[in-house]
């Protein structure tokens, strides 16, 4: 009878949730659309901005260089640079984006005679994409000029090019693509799963508790023979379903969006960084996040039950987002690694473990400790939720 009643409550809550536009938006639409918009939309926007900055010739100004006419002349002829001569101060011109950069050529650069090794100075607007691109072009020009000069000097003295560069340095990755993925984007997936587990559970948790109070259906259901324990368990299962569906859709959507974005990048540039994340790793992240979703769902139900209205519930639950985001982000910080003590810190432990799982590292002791401790926290949260549903002062708070 008990499982039957829980199933009846769950089915009814599911039916209502599927008919509620707000639940459908928060649980299904947002996770599906968020990542294509973020990755593909923003990604393409950024890519096109960079492309535009790359294509557009940059207006620059030359300071000095009277005794280096050849240098100035090649700079003027240089592709994608337009040298202008303005009477105004170059700092103002850069600040007002009239020109993108200015270069100061030290005396005696061309002849090399009497040069006091004063540097070539490039003045720019830090943080501005077009100014940074212009400065890079000027720097590339002078790097090339310097290399040519050095090569000429070496050949005049009949010395090989290796005289100045006796050996090369090359970095070589020795770990698998999965491990690279774990270190680079490994922190993002657990963060995403954790945040989406929370946001997916938020709206249904409020709707099923404070929403019921607001719509005056709480007393209706309390007058039925279903026990309060079965009632809260049926509601909890629906909130948990919403939480997991949101997280699953988010990760799927992110995977598809990243694949599409990478595919287009491959086609356009020919070069791409391949990040490989196995399906098994993503599934184990879900498995580890399951007790966390249980904890979130039960905790949100309990908190929202205190509220008399949907609005009040929102004001209680919003700060919870920060409580969850901080440990979830902490796991992404470089140098934060799983220790026995951190294994007991809720949210942070799951986030760190997921990072390891994505990288293909399985420390079974940590996995067991974190899974069990999170199950314990989840169980405690359900216990509190059931207790709260038995308290008249909470159900009938006025």
């Amino acid at each position: 009878m008990s499982a039957r009643n829980i199933a009846i409550v769950y089915r009814k809550e599911l039916l209502e949730a599927l008919r509620d536009r707000r639940t459908l938006i928060s649980t299904i639409l947002v996770p599906i659309l968020l990542f294509p918009i973020l990755t593909v939309g923003v990604g393409f926007a950024v890519a096109s901005l960079i492309e535009e900055a790359d294509r557009e010739p940059a207006r620059i100004m030359i300071l000095g260089g009277v005794d280096s006419p050849a240098v100035v002349s090649s700079l003027v002829k240089s592709k994608n640079l337009i040298v202008v001569s303005e009477p105004a101060n170059y700092v103002d011109l850069i600040s007002n984006k009239k020109i993108r950069a200015a270069v100061e050529i030290p005396p005696g650069l061309q002849s090399g005679v009497g040069a006091d090794y004063s540097p070539v100075k490039i003045y720019m607007y830090s943080g501005d994409l077009k100014s940074t691109t212009a400065a890079k072009r000027i720097e590339d020009f002078f790097n090339e000029y310097r290399e040519n000069l050095a090569r000429d000097r070496l050949s005049a003295r009949k010395l090989p090019a290796s005289f100045l560069k006796p050996f090369d340095i090359k970095q070589q990755n020795v770990v698998s693509e999965e491990k690279v993925a774990g270190e680079t984007v490994g922190g993002i997936i657990p963060y995403l799963v954790i945040i989406m587990c929370l946001t997916g559970a938020m709206y249904p948790a409020m709707d099923l508790t404070a929403g019921e109070k607001e719509r005056a259906t709480m007393e209706t259901i309390l007058s039925s023979p279903v026990s309060r324990t079965h009632l809260v368990l049926g509601k909890f299962l629906l909130v948990l379903t919403a939480s997991l569906v949101t997280a699953a859709l988010s990760v799927t959507s992110m995977g598809v969006s990243s694949w599409v974005f990478q595919h287009f990048q491959d086609q356009s540039s020919g070069a791409a960084v391949h990040i490989k994340i196995g399906l098994g790793a993503v599934l184990s992240v879900f498995l580890v996040a399951l007790p966390l979703a249980v904890m979130f769902s039960a905790a949100l139900l309990t908190i929202a039950l205190f509220a008399k209205s949907y609005k009040e519930a929102q004001s209680y639950i919003s700060p919870l987002m920060i409580v969850v985001i901080v440990p979830a982000i902490a796991a992404m910080l470089p140098g934060v690694e799983l220790t026995p003590r951190l294994s007991l810190v809720p949210i942070l432990n799951v986030s760190l473990l997921c990072k390891d799982l994505i990288a293909g590292t399985y420390h079974w002791n940590s996995i067991a400790l974190i899974f069990l401790s999170t199950c314990l926290y989840g169980g405690a949260a359900i216990f509190i939720a059931v207790k709260m549903f038995h308290r008249e002062s909470v159900l009938f708070r006025s």
């Binding site: 009846i8 009814k12 039916l15 008919r19 509620d20 259906t217 007393e219 007058s223 002062s393």
Partner: protein
């Protein structure tokens, strides 16, 4: 039958401290009769009925509802009771039929019995034209009928009505009044709370006057008229209530 035995309910309020909403209330409601709990706002009517429906637990005392103790077996009590009040709204996103089915299933009805009962109730209450319409799209009258169908689906022997016509228009209120009469004719035990004198006159076989959480007087309308030497029930009510020196303040919760 309902048998309330020294029912009391106290609440703790942050500002006002301990509040006694219902104090030592005892009465009996017989099958086939309507018991009217008459009182002003805040007298303790809703709290008493919520205790009988096991939505609230009594602080002291108990009651037997259809032979089940409200403290010992609240779930059995709820299976025997149909509870209707203005605070028992419908789920807006369910259709009228889904709403009634939900409560039928929670009352343990199997699918075949449930279908038969729903067909029967929907025909009797003339609800077939809107059985597949969502509750948030129903008129007030349709909502009332759906609420009635919800309370009737498991054919409970006891009906509890908490100010059932409060805020309703004349037509919707008449539907409810007719339904309460039908319950009496069907031999059900009916208890109803109200502060509308005309409703009491029309419906109640026995009246209990409650004030500040205490039951001050009880009897048939004829008995009360004789005892207080007044024809008008409203005058009788005022006479009883003003004569009572309030030892404490009752509140509705």
């Amino acid at each position: 039958m309902i048998e309330a035995r020294s029912l009391s309910k106290r609440f703790h309020d942050k500002k006002r401290g301990q509040i006694c909403a219902v104090e030592n209330v005892s009465f009996t409601c017989q099958p086939g009769r309507i018991y009217g709990l008459l009182g002003a706002n805040g007298a303790g009517k809703t709290t008493t009925l919520r205790m009988l429906a096991t939505i609230l637990e009594p602080t002291d005392g108990t009651a037997l509802v259809f032979g089940h103790d409200i403290v010992e077996h609240p779930e059995r009590v709820r299976s025997s009771v149909g509870f209707l009040s203005t605070a028992t709204a419908l789920y807006p996103r369910l259709t009228a039929q889904e709403m009634v089915e939900y409560f039928g299933r929670l009352n343990g009805l199997d699918e075949a019995t449930l279908k038969k009962r729903i067909d029967d109730i929907f025909s009797r209450l003339d609800m077939n034209s809107f059985r597949d319409r969502r509750c948030d799209k129903l008129s007030t009258g349709m909502k009332q009928k759906t609420s009635i169908a919800r309370t009737l689906v498991h054919d409970p022997p006891v009906m509890i009505f908490d100010e059932p016509t409060l805020g309703l228009d004349i037509m919707a209120a008449r539907t409810i009044v007719a339904f309460i009469r039908e319950c009496r004719q069907a031999g059900k035990t009916v208890i109803l709370s109200t502060h509308v004198m005309s409703e009491v006159e029309k419906l109640c076989d026995v009246i209990g006057i409650i004030h500040n959480g205490s039951l001050l007087a009880e009897g048939t309308p004829a008995q009360l008229r004789e005892k207080y030497e007044e024809k008008d029930l409203e005058e009788i009510f005022v006479k009883i209530v003003t004569a009572h020196v309030a030892p404490h303040i009752g509140v509705e919760v």
